[in-house]
Symmetry: C2
Subunit: 412 residues, 2 copies
């Protein structure tokens, strides 16, 4: 008998049939004698519908009200799943984030979990009930509802798995696992059987659709995650502590694990800024205050005591970011701001590239062979990212996928 935590995404719960399908899968596992906690996202596109409603009554919806509004999406799906399980003869109970004891700080819209008090979860499990928990939400000390940020039901699931001592966390959606590249871009993309936390974190941060904070949390608690589909019996991808394996498997792991892509990138350059201590902070604090995520930052020192900053933002943030940067440029006496929309990121990721030369050169050579110009380069220990024109993204992803031998499904 095991204690397992599942998480089901909105695509797995899009309508009554999908909900009944998930209920049957959970019932099957429960009947084998397992104790199950299932964390759910909101049904299909219901969160988007609620957001649209909010913007119909207000151009700038209040964050506290928005969080209560959005939290209802998960309440709907968790109660329906509990009802569906009961209709199959299983004893199931739904819990809101509050009832599940998920306490957070007051940062509406992207609250951080401060603690989990799982008394109620444990009590319901002891009554041999299947526990369905509304993901993505928690409650402050003042009993105000908060949400944890888009896609954060994964985070709820991992946090609860860690807190109640589950042996692993299983995350289900409508995709069969983590692919070596986006299958929409790269038809030869393969499912990865297993991947290390750090590699997955780079993959997720640079394009693979998974909540990065949930991976960080799983890494911190060494909680293995299975990523699989609720619509098939495919075995999916295990994300777990990669280091030890890396040593064990040796040469086999000494390679690129996947290609991460992101087609939603814009670049801003502010040039001729007087170089002095603190100038970077002055530049990026206002962007952070405006809630704009800055990704890659490159600074080039000039020859006359001035410096240029280049950074990337999501395309959707470009207009606001440009506006803030132009205001700053006139204040801190920069010589100008230039922005480029329509860019993309392509990254190779793998712990195998640590301390191993040649990966960067091979990446640049492959792109050059396909006449793809590299705009900006950024690297971590286990990732190399190139900013390119978005019209070249598909070609870049396919050629890198082939060059780093990911087309071959034999060695995964």
């Amino acid at each position: 008998m095991a204690l397992v935590v599942h998480k089901y995404g909105g695509s797995s719960l899009a309508n009554a049939n999908s909900i009944l399908n998930v209920a049957r899968r959970i019932a099957d596992i429960s009947r084998l004698g397992n104790k199950i906690v299932a964390v759910v996202s909101a049904m299909g596109s219901s969160t988007d519908n609620l957001i649209n409603l909010a913007y119909e009554v207000s151009t700038n919806p209040d964050p506290r009200e928005m969080d209560v509004l959005l939290s209802t999406g998960e309440l709907v799906s968790c109660t329906l799943l509990a009802m569906a399980l009961r209709s199959l003869g299983e004893d199931a109970v739904s819990l809101s984030g509050s009832q599940a004891g998920i306490k957070t700080n007051k940062q509406y819209g992207k609250a951080m979990i401060s603690s989990i008090e799982p008394k109620r979860i444990v009590a319901e499990l002891e009554q041999n009930r299947i526990v369905i928990i509304a993901g993505y939400q928690g409650i402050t000390e003042n009993m105000d509802v908060t949400t944890l940020g888009r896609g954060a039901s994964d985070l709820t699931a991992v946090a609860i798995a860690a807190r109640i001592g589950s042996s692993r966390c299983e995350i289900y959606s409508d995709v069969d696992g983590i692919f070596t590249a986006d299958p929409n871009l790269v038809p030869n993309a393969q499912i990865i059987d297993e991947i290390g936390f750090e590699e997955m974190l780079e993959m997720a941060s640079y394009g693979a659709k998974m909540n990065p904070r949930s991976i960080e949390l799983a890494m911190a608690y060494n909680m293995p995650i299975l990523v699989a589909s609720s619509f098939s019996q495919s075995k999916g991808t295990i994300i777990h502590q990669g280091d030890s394996m890396n040593n064990n498997v040796g040469e086999l792991r000494n390679r690129v694990r996947g290609i991460a892509t992101d087609n939603n990138v814009a670049k801003i350059t502010i040039s001729g800024v007087v170089d002095r201590p603190g100038i970077a902070a002055e530049l990026f604090e206002p962007l952070a205050d405006a809630g704009i995520s800055v990704d890659i930052i490159v600074q080039n020192a000039g020859i006359h005591g001035t410096t240029d900053f280049t950074f990337t933002v999501e395309s959707t943030d470009l207009t606001r970011a440009e506006q803030i940067t132009k205001e700053l440029s006139s204040r801190i006496v920069g010589s100008g701001v230039v922005s480029s929309p329509g860019l993309a990121k392509v990254s190779i990721v793998g712990t195998g590239m640590q301390d191993t030369p040649g990966y960067a050169a091979m990446m640049f050579r492959t792109l050059a062979d396909h006449k793809i110009n590299i705009d900006t380069i950024s690297t971590s220990e286990i990732r190399i990212t190139c900013i390119i024109n978005s019209s070249h993204l598909e070609d870049a992803a396919r050629s890198l996928h082939k060059a780093f031998e990911l087309d071959d499904s034999e060695i995964k």
Copy 2:
């Protein structure tokens, strides 16, 4: 400066425009220096949509899960109204039933309010905030969400008004007030300026669309209720303690106040039951246990120590009620069960008919003049109800409305 409690029904909050309309009305009153608590129902038909979803995943949805599911409708509307008020520059905050301190027993689907702890409401009002409360819901001692029964947002509003010491409770929907009869049946129906609690209770119980429990509660706390439309500036109907007025206004009040109608009636007769103490309880307890509301009950003692019972139920409950009664009939050795669907109730209501002869005779004469056969008669001190064939309901309502001088709008 006054402290007022408003309640807005689903028709007043059916879409973003309606919500903004309600927000403007509340903002206008707030700007006059009033403190406002507004209780809301779910938007338009959203509760029905949630019920349909539940029955798509389960033929017999769990009551606890159903209550959490349905409670989300009011959370959506209360957050949207708070956002809309903020977009108009007002400081507003939404509270769930739980946050508003509404404690109930565990009777899911029709929970009773056990207490209201208005600490949070009072604190928000002291911060000069407009407080928007999700109606129709509360929370048990175990922190499980309950709902108070269909239409019970009125009850929430009256209970909060009484608890926080509001001078009156204003209930807004898309109708202009309480009419002397259903305007869909009787084109000459007039809006009643003021009506006593007891009269309104009879009107509501016998057809007028208002939650009877909320009127009982208002009567218990002597809390005047204004019923009006959120779409017009019409002055609506005041429901208040009628007795004193009755004495003051004298002859003017000595009349029928309104015609209540209900077109959703079925009748069941169980005959040849051996008459002994306890037989009525044996008969009606199983119906109550099945959640079937029995309305009018008539017992006729027979001549051979047997008795007949006739009772009415809502048409929608007829099949189940008939089944239960037939099982009972064979157990307690009745001689047969007969049921009649397609009936209607028409009632005249008014405190004026207390201790005053002639009202019943005039009612029966009016129906007879229109060749309408009376099936069953039931009376209270301030009401006379006739069960008739539903095809005659419109004719009955119009002729009674005229006969009791309600067509004349001068004296209301």
